[in-house]
């Protein structure tokens, strides 16, 4: 189903959640070459929760900065504009949805854990592929199933029916959604991502993570999220509402160009980084 049909048939697009204004502001400012770290810091400083997250991120072992970073402009210079934009997006999107309770058969906490697992995986795979924008891959992985939470919020009955159907028939949730609703979470995700004006490099993984060969411009990024999603399921990091695995798409595997031996390394790193990432995102 394309966006126009979906909008008409199912969602009133005005009802869909909007991202907080701060994301648009930061996204716009970081595109502008004359924006300074101080300009950005003034906007960030108004949001205490965001400031705390930024300082926590920059002082995490991941950036391994030799001394503790205490000021916002410094933190912004160290992580860079694009990582800052992705951090704001992560937090903004996350604040829109419940963290713990959903319908009887949809558990948000478990769902977010699966999503964090996928984000961590995408970031680690990106490093293996020598792709530099790792924070962008993290947020793409984290948001890959955003369509599911929108469905949970706006189509409760139907979506809940699809989840039960997937469980009962032992099929992937995507197939159950198509049977019950006539569209699936990647369609819904695409609609929301479009409304949020997200960059295509993040929209395409949301839309195509189950069919990477249809990706348009960002096949590598879509393939990274595709693999990360399967690995997060295989490692049973949280749950996205189905008990069967979906396979690795041949096209995606060839696009990544990884050797079989990389899989073990990637999966072990995912396990090592998972708990910290859950704490970072959920607290």
């Amino acid at each position: 189903m394309d966006n126009a049909q979906l909008k008409k048939a199912v969602f009133n697009v005005n009802d869909l959640p909007v991202l907080p204004a701060i994301y648009e502001k930061i996204a716009c400012m970081t595109q502008n070459p004359s924006t300074t770290a101080k300009d950005l810091a003034r906007v960030i400083a108004d949001d205490i929760a965001l400031t705390t997250k930024l300082l926590k991120l920059v002082n995490s072992p991941f950036y391994a900065f030799p001394r503790s970073v205490g000021t916002i402009p410094q933190a912004i210079v160290i992580i860079g504009y694009s990582a800052l934009r992705n951090l704001v997006l992560t937090k903004s999107a996350f604040d829109l949805f419940p963290k713990f309770y959903g319908a009887d058969n949809f558990e948000y906490f478990s769902f977010w854990k699966h999503s964090v697992g996928c984000g961590v995986g995408a970031k680690i795979i990106a490093k293996h592929c020598e792709y530099r924008e790792i924070e962008e891959m993290f947020v793409s992985g984290l948001l890959h199933d955003v369509g599911k939470v929108v469905q949970e919020q706006f189509l409760r009955g139907k979506f809940s029916e699809a989840i039960s159907f997937a469980y009962k028939s032992n099929i992937p949730i995507l197939e159950a959604e198509n049977d019950v609703m006539g569209f699936c979470h990647t369609d819904t995700g695409n609609l929301v991502a479009e409304k949020w004006n997200l960059p295509s490099v993040i929209v395409e993984p949301i839309r195509y993570h189950h069919k990477p060969r249809y990706a348009d411009k960002y096949r590598l990024q879509v393939s990274m999220v595709h693999l990360a999603n399967v690995l997060s399921h295989a490692l049973q990091l949280g749950s996205s509402g189905q008990k069967v695995l979906t396979g690795i798409d041949r096209f995606a595997w060839e696009t990544l160009g990884l050797s079989l031996s990389c899989i073990e390394e990637i999966m072990k790193k995912m396990l090592n980084e998972f708990d910290d990432a859950v704490n970072f995102i959920m607290n």
Binding site: I248, S259, L260, S261, E264
Partner: protein, 114 residues
């Protein structure tokens, strides 16, 4: 016999193929018996696999399986089989299943020793 991941290589195994870096620089010739020092050299150069005589990827897991109890073994095999059924012919999914099995065995081993 097979390519093993670096974490599965142990001193005493015999190289079946030359070990080269991704820039095709020769590191270790085939036929030599691996030592701790060799494994360190491979890690330093970012080499993450090597072909050795007489043991395959799958056998590494089978060997580990032998070290856990009957009950744990049955449970792990059932879990992995359920998760990965239908993907038996897919080499990537097979490797993922193998790693999942290994991780589960390691967990069983460490919970038994604690």
């Amino acid at each position: 016999m097979g390519v093993l991941n670096i974490s599965d290589l142990i001193p005493g195994m015999v190289l079946e193929e030359d070990v080269v870096t991704d820039k095709e620089t020769m590191l270790l010739p085939k036929g030599i018996e691996l030592t701790e020092r060799h494994l360190e050299i491979m890690k330093t150069w970012g080499v993450n696999e090597a072909s050795v005589e007489g043991v395959s990827r799958a056998e590494v897991v089978w060997e580990k399986m032998g070290r856990i109890g009957e009950e744990d073994r049955a449970k792990i095999m059932a879990e992995v089989e359920m998760l990965f059924s239908g993907f038996e012919d897919d080499e990537v999914m097979n490797e993922i299943a193998r790693v999942v099995t290994k991780i589960k065995i390691d967990r069983a081993l460490s919970s038994n020793t604690h």
